[in-house]
Amino acid sequence: MTEILPTAEAAVKLALKKGFDEAEAFSTKITRREIIYRNQIEATKTNAIAGLSVRGVIGKRVGFFSVSSLDRKDIERAVEESLKIAKASSEDPDWKSLPRKYGKASVEKVADKKIEQATAKDLVEEVRLAISTVRDVDPSVSITRGFLSTNVLSNAIANSHGCKLERKETLAAMWVAVKAGTSDRKGVSHEISVSRLWKRLKTKQIARAASERALKMVHAIQIPNGKMNTVWRNDAFAGIIDAMLTRTITADAVQKNRSPWVGKIGQPVASEAVTIIDEGKMVAGNGTRQFDDDGSSQKRTPVIEKGILRGFLYDNYTASKENRPSTGNAHRDVGIFTSQPNYMKTPSPYPNNLVVNPSNATADELIQETRNGLYVVETIGEWLSNPISGELSATLSSGFLIENGELTRAVKGVILSSNFFDMLKGKMDLRASDLDSAGATYAPTTQVLDMTVAGE
């Protein structure tokens, strides 16, 4: 297999020769293995993906083309096609230049040898553990869908200013969907564990948690309309933060006036208890990389600090527009599970690991403190919420009533809504210490006051 960095360098060289003023090549190699299972293994999968894109500039005209190959003739095609596109493009008055300097941060635990070297047998054994754990909880519970995947992601970037870098990360994910009950009365639940490190996969814990909850969901009820105080499990709340913030706190969204945060830097936008930081170098973070997709080193960038809006996330393009340094947030994909490999896209800013600060309570203490309300474990459609108007809406697919400080009956099927901007200002101040993630967004278990419940 061709080495990805020399290939990128060769592409840059060729692009200059063909007439570009500036050129950049970004190359990718992904080795992905997957086991798809139910109560037994249904399929095993192995994928090798390679590709390269060329971004070339003539004056202030930018062209971009990508190919799913690292072969010389395909690279020639990428250069030629991007040249055609650049010539046809209109000038971008904001174009300054490709980065003149690359940077590489020191990060820990993002590439795991065990994931790279795991044999088919290792993968099968991990799946066996998931299957047997579910069976041990209760023989009536069964797995309806599940997968285990391991990914080895290598990227290289080079440009005509003499910059070049290479990086490698790993990512493993175990997902399980289980059901309990009968045809007439079913309970289902889903759990996922995602990690850069093999040994941090929580296979047994998630298989057990999913099974136990599915048994309870068999008896789920619907509840009437009203207002309720709620407690969101950490990963579910991370899903809300992901839906409401990740696309609007980027410099791109702000510069283009599609963010509600325009003009609010330095202003209080949340209560003092709320701090949200993009931790680009978080140890073993799902979004941690040595450098971003522009070649800038990843860093720590405060977004909201003690309630004050502090800053936005920049890539090279948006940063140079404001004559400031990039925050190392260039992404060629959005989120960590995208359906297209990253080389196919031009960079734009996006959070690396967006973290809502935890507190020192336990999840149980939050539930006790809430006394009466709703505990939210799984929702659907939260991603359909509107981060521009702040209208948050999520449909509960798995949750429990909180009665006298304890979890009681299972609940599903109601719509929970609130205005996220109001929520930030004192309605989500009570948080636990237990950070967990939805993709690369991290949050603790959080109490959210006063949500509207649309039910029966």
């Binding site: 192995t46 062209g63 869908r145 309970g187 659907i380």
Partner: protein, 466 residues
């Protein structure tokens, strides 16, 4: 290419597979984006790859590569077989329903190949529309996109099936953000068709983009609807999304076979009111063209609900065996690297005979729920709860359309909501999208959906508490 695929299939049989297929894909995508009056990006790519699927013992072994060299690919075949064998002790016992081998080639007729249209012509279209969308000072952001997809797939199996499909899709999308009285709102909307550049040439995208902005201007000052459960009339765009979430996913055979779906065991049962008939069809005007699935099985018109009764599930060859039914040509893969899984194609409801006025006139207090500006939906097939986000909608009072309300989320229960369908309109529209798709198990599939205007007795609306 055919020889290479044949070689790989034979290699798999030699190594002990009892069935094998190989899929080649050549995919060209172009996305041109303009924002606030200037070109934001012009991304274009070509990806090619081969996926091999082998049946060894009871499980599938799947391998894929973007390196199209025979020696490499032959090694991939061995790897697929080796991995499937490693899973042997824990594997299922997959059987495939018999199908007649097919040899066919289907191409969406294209008058003008989008790849042959000079890039500057396309850039001009998207830039002009982008500027036309700035209809007033309240429009803070205008994002416009032109998208093209040219998906060529070749499928070859050890049973002698050989199928080639060549599908071109073109589309335009507009997102407008409006601000007023300290509040902001966005409206996304798109139009696409399985066709060439002639679809773009035939549309007035400046007018389309301006209309989206006008809608954003109106909805940003509209009130939230009250939270609760109300009667509703859904428009054709939204009834498609509604069916997709409220029925479609639950009718997918893989989810039925594992008993995850709430529709399991309900074939022949009444699951909707008698006036409801629903199809999944690979070939319907306006929808996405799926002549064959990714197992080489012809996708024909499947009657999912007939006069309220559940008539069929959507099936692949292996789920057909598990459920004792015939395959329906619904095994689809996002691309060459993915395992074909059961997916919808174009799900739509058969029209009835009522006018829009007749649908609305008996509603004392309810909502006219519109698809324009909708973002999609999601379903929990096991729990039976579905949700979708409508576009800007309208209040109905005493049988008449009143003011606009904000776009909010709606929810219902798979087994209950279809029974509350009270009346079916006589109009009919099916649409697809070159930009989005339907996500399942980490794969995105192009789908279409639609139907007539439909009245529901009960739909839960996630607005504000009164």
């Amino acid at each position: 290419m055919e020889d290479l695929l044949k070689n790989l299939v034979n290699r798999a049989l030699d190594l002990g597979a009892r069935y094998a297929d190989a899929r080649f894909q050549d995919l060209r995508q172009t996305l041109i984006m303009a924002e606030n009056g200037s070109l934001r990006s012009y991304e274009s790519d070509r990806s090619t790859g081969i996926g091999i699927r082998v049946l060894v013992g009871g499980a599938w072994g799947i391998a894929s590569s973007t390196v199209l060299k025979k020696a490499d690919l032959r090694r991939k075949v061995s790897e697929a077989i080796r991995m499937a064998k490693a899973a042997k002790k824990l594997s299922t016992s997959i059987q495939l329903a018999k199908v007649k081998p097919v040899e066919a080639s289907v191409e969406v007729p294209v008058k003008r190949n989008p790849d042959d249209v000079p890039p500057d012509v396309k850039v001009k279209v998207v830039l002009e529309a982008n500027k036309a969308a700035v209809t007033g000072a309240d429009i803070k952001n205008s994002s416009s996109r032109l998208g093209f997809l040219h998906d060529v797939r070749m499928f070859l199996s050890s049973e002698g099936t050989k199928v080639k499909t060549d599908i071109t899709t073109s589309g335009f999308s507009q997102l407008s953000v409006a601000a007023a009285n300290g509040s902001m709102e966005r409206v996304p909307e798109q139009r696409s068709q399985c066709a060439g550049y002639e679809f773009i040439e035939g549309g007035d995208w400046n007018a389309f983009a301006a209309e989206v902005s006008q809608l954003a201007s109106k909805v940003v000052v509209a009130p939230m609807p009250p939270a609760g459960t109300y009667p509703a009339v859904l428009d054709p765009e939204l009834i498609g999304l509604f069916l997709h979430e409220a029925l479609g996913h639950a009718s997918e055979g893989d989810l039925v076979a594992t008993k995850e779906s709430v529709l399991e065991g309900r074939l022949g049962d009444s699951i909707a009111s008698e006036i409801v008939t629903v199809f999944d069809d690979g070939n319907i005007a306006g929808g996405y063209v799926v002549p064959f699935d990714d197992e080489g099985v012809p996708k024909t018109k499947t009657t999912v609900i007939e006069k309220g009764r559940l008539r069929s599930f959507l099936l692949s060859r292996d789920t057909a065996i598990e459920l004792g039914l015939e395959p329906t040509g619904n095994a689809r893969a996002q691309n060459f690297e993915h395992k074909p899984i059961v997916r919808m194609t174009n799900m739509y409801m058969q029209p009835g005979d009522l006018s829009f006025e007749e649908l609305v006139k008996d509603i004392e207090y309810g909502f006219y729920v519109r698809g324009r500006g909708s973002l999609g939906g999601q379903v929990d097939v096991g729990g039976g709860t579905f949700t979708f986000r409508a576009g800007p909608s309208y209040l109905i009072e005493k049988g008449e359309l009143k003011h606009m309300v904000r776009a909010v989320n709606f929810a219902g229960k798979v087994l209950e909501t279809l029974k509350t369908i009270e009346a079916v309109g006589k109009d009919f529209t099916v649409t697809t999208s070159v930009f989005g798709g339907c996500g399942k198990d980490g794969q995105l599939a192009k789908v279409g959906d639609g139907g007539p205007h439909v009245r529901l007795g009960k739909l839960t609306i996630g607005g504000r508490a009164n």
